[in-house]
Symmetry: C2
Subunit: 456 residues, 2 copies
């Protein structure tokens, strides 16, 4: 039990609430609220409803766990499958930059579903979620950049993240946790091939990872064994699915480095490359009290990567494409003060946004480009209709660890996401916020969204 997989398993199995620094616990609550808001925002999407219908066809349609897509209950497996499918749908969920991994979507749905089924406390749930983050992010870092070129790390590392969280809730001992890792890793999958067809696989990947993690942990609890070196072994994930796997990353800083704190929130509902300029424009507009009509021209001073990715999108034809249009994003900031899901839905048919797009250009900025990717600096230069030239900069986009969202900002984002397409009522959104902020004090994790008494 002294190889990297085993040390990681031991950490996940033995993590205690008391050992987790308070800022990590508070951030875990922040990330949970952010994830559940994303689940609701994605809950009416076609691919998510397909997964939910499959769950209804194959599993029980009542049970101890909350299915936020159908607003009914089910066994933990099916509740987690549906919720995890929804969590990654609207591209507003969290991201860990170093591992290029979206932990929330694969940690919270299975952990919440199992905590509800086992009658765990809020503190136990939070502890389990931290174990899931710290495990999954390190597995993603271990798998490395070569892995990410072909595999969707959120699907692959996600299975381990889910197993760690669920295993902690089941009180697996280190040996059992290592077995759970073995069973999760040998089910881990998810290929980027779907991207070029714009197929629905992303929702399947999070759903699959959540289900695999639950199955792996429950099996381990029942004595089912798995490979002890599923990550670093000669026929393990690193050997089969990476060319630069680094086992040293697996146990790096366990108990002292908290990757939960390194995880970023997405504030705007657009490609991350647009965020620095959007934040800089927002700051400028607020400082000078400008409206859309006051702006004659915007120059976004960006890194080369932004030009590569966003440059081709001149006249977006779909809502998804418009999230890669710098002109659209800055137009929404100028018009609404934000670039969220409803703003994007309305942008395509908005002549004011189309007109604003023509006022926006991108230019390579040497300082911004040099700092990237360690720092994502945002700079804009605005020419106003009355002839002023104004400049603005932000050193870290909103949502990154050094410029994280305040609870007020998270609540605002939650209200917008939760009520997107009437997924939840404003009252339900408020109740959700209250339940997550109060989670540390509850003896028994109950429903977050569905009505009292629905959980069987």
């Amino acid at each position: 039990m002294n190889h990297p997989s085993a040390r990681l398993a031991e950490f996940a199995a033995e993590l205690k609430y008391e050992d987790i620094p308070s800022p990590v616990l508070r951030r875990a609550e922040d990330l949970m609220l952010d994830c559940l808001a994303s689940v609701l925002a994605g809950s009416s999407a076609r691919p998510v409803l397909s997964v939910a219908r499959f769950a209804d066809a194959m599993g029980p349609t009542s049970g101890p766990s909350e299915n936020m897509v159908t607003r009914r209950s089910s066994s933990p497996l099916f509740a987690a499958m549906a919720n995890a499918a929804a969590a990654h749908m609207v591209e507003q969920d969290d991201v860990h930059n170093g591992s290029v991994f979206h932990p929330g979507a694969v940690v919270f749905p299975p952990a919440i579903a199992v905590a509800q089924a086992l009658g765990r406390s809020g503190k136990e749930l939070l502890t389990a979620c931290v174990a899931g983050y710290e495990t999954g992010i390190r597995v993603g870092e271990f798998l490395g950049r070569s892995h990410y070129k072909i595999f969707h790390t959120t699907g692959t590392a996600g299975a381990l993240a889910a197993a760690a969280a669920v295993g902690r809730l089941l009180n697996l001992n280190p040996e059992q946790m290592l077995n759970a890792f073995g069973s999760a890793g040998t089910q881990a999958a998810g290929l980027w091939e779907f991207l070029k067809d714009a197929a629905d696989s992303k929702q399947l990947h999070t759903s699959h990872a959540a289900a695999n993690g639950i199955m792996a942990a429950y099996l381990a609890n029942d004595g089912f064994t798995g490979a002890r070196r599923i990550l670093e072994g000669a026929q393990g994930m690193g050997a089969g699915m990476s060319r630069d796997a680094d086992p040293a990353r697996l146990a790096q800083g366990l108990g002292s480095r908290w990757t939960v704190l390194e995880t970023s929130f997405k504030y705007h509902a657009s490609c991350r490359h647009t965020h620095p300029a959007a934040d800089a424009l927002l700051a400028l507009i607020q400082a000078h009290a400008l409206s859309l009509d006051d702006i004659a021209r915007v120059e976004a001073l960006v890194h080369q990567g932004a030009i590569d990715v966003l440059g081709p999108v001149v006249d977006p034809a779909t809502v998804h494409q418009s999230k890669f249009s710098m002109g659209t994003v800055l137009g929404l900031i100028a018009r609404h003060g934000r670039a969220g899901l409803p703003e994007f839905d309305a942008a395509l048919n908005d002549p004011a946004i189309a007109a604003f797009r023509k006022k926006v250009t991108m230019a390579l900025d040497p300082e911004v480009d040099r700092a990237y990717p360690e720092k994502w600096i945002g700079k804009v230069r605005v020419t106003t209709t009355d002839g002023r030239v104004l400049e603005s900069r932000v050193d870290e986009p909103k949502g990154d660890p050094g410029n994280t969202l305040s609870r007020a900002e998270l609540e605002d984002k939650t209200r917008r996401l939760a009520t997107y397409r009437n997924a939840a009522t404003p009252e339900e959104a408020e109740a959700l916020i209250g339940r997550v902020w109060g989670l540390g004090e509850v003896e028994l994790v109950g429903a977050f969204v569905v009505g009292v008494g629905v959980l069987g």
Copy 2:
């Protein structure tokens, strides 16, 4: 729709009973009986019961599909998960040599479960199973030898095989079938790392593949899309999980070459890689009337794959691991003249077998290695205690297509497997045989083992 994945999907979607030659259909029945006998033989094993308990905890405990492990019914997903876990347990299920793939374990359990749920006929079930074999075997051939070094092809190609069979029962059109392949392939997984720990993952692999295939096909039937080139695409299975993937294999001989007929039955209850040497030793022992004590040394001359899979198993700690121990298998042949389930159960505590293991070595044989995997040549060199050096070879192990089992031999094998550890009564074994031989004539696929009226 003219790339290899699409042609394979079209074939699987459009395959008709009338287009399948009668010998292929009869062999499919043979393979089904052989598989169901293996399911029963594995039904009381600890890892299988773990999977069954998980299925009971998460899924419905009554439904339209037959769970042969619990002798109850469930939804198709959970019935298939439990039965598929059992099918590969006792290492007596079929194998396709060229793809090093065990199709039965991942085709029949999901196909039967879904046929029962949808009320399909025996002819429809057989057609679907042939579609599953023809698909999965070609996917295994496509993934190639480099894949098999790290991945358990039965887990990976198995997901596609299951999706094809279930997709055919759902009457998916070619476009939908291609989507099902995309969703199956992006969930496909299974690593050999568990072997060196003698862990339980093999049962998880077949269970997982069956479940993935069902989910992929049901989702496709509901409009959920998948990658169109999940196999041969630049970010697909071949790119991520193989170094010698050959897209030309995917559509090779569709409709004229029937890989069902190329599939071998397992005669010995051990890893297939041990069979050629076991048959060669058996022939040598019989020809020279040798006993265990006459043998000073055995050199098994094998292909590299045998060394890769069997090499790590030096001192088997479990019955299952002993099936991957060349020394144990050859010891049982020398001691009992066969290596069946009861012989393996007794082998672990048999000092004569432990002593014999030390006399056995494996060596790479260039001729055997060149012929593999198309031919599995067996060669042994025996040094007797009185100093003779004897050699023996077989060109085709028993159960291979050119040396296949007769229906009488299959019935005999079925009676032994089905009643192993009292899984079924002799009467139930006879009834099972009758149901499979009569399958082509039934209008509605019913239960094969559980009593009448159990299916809901």
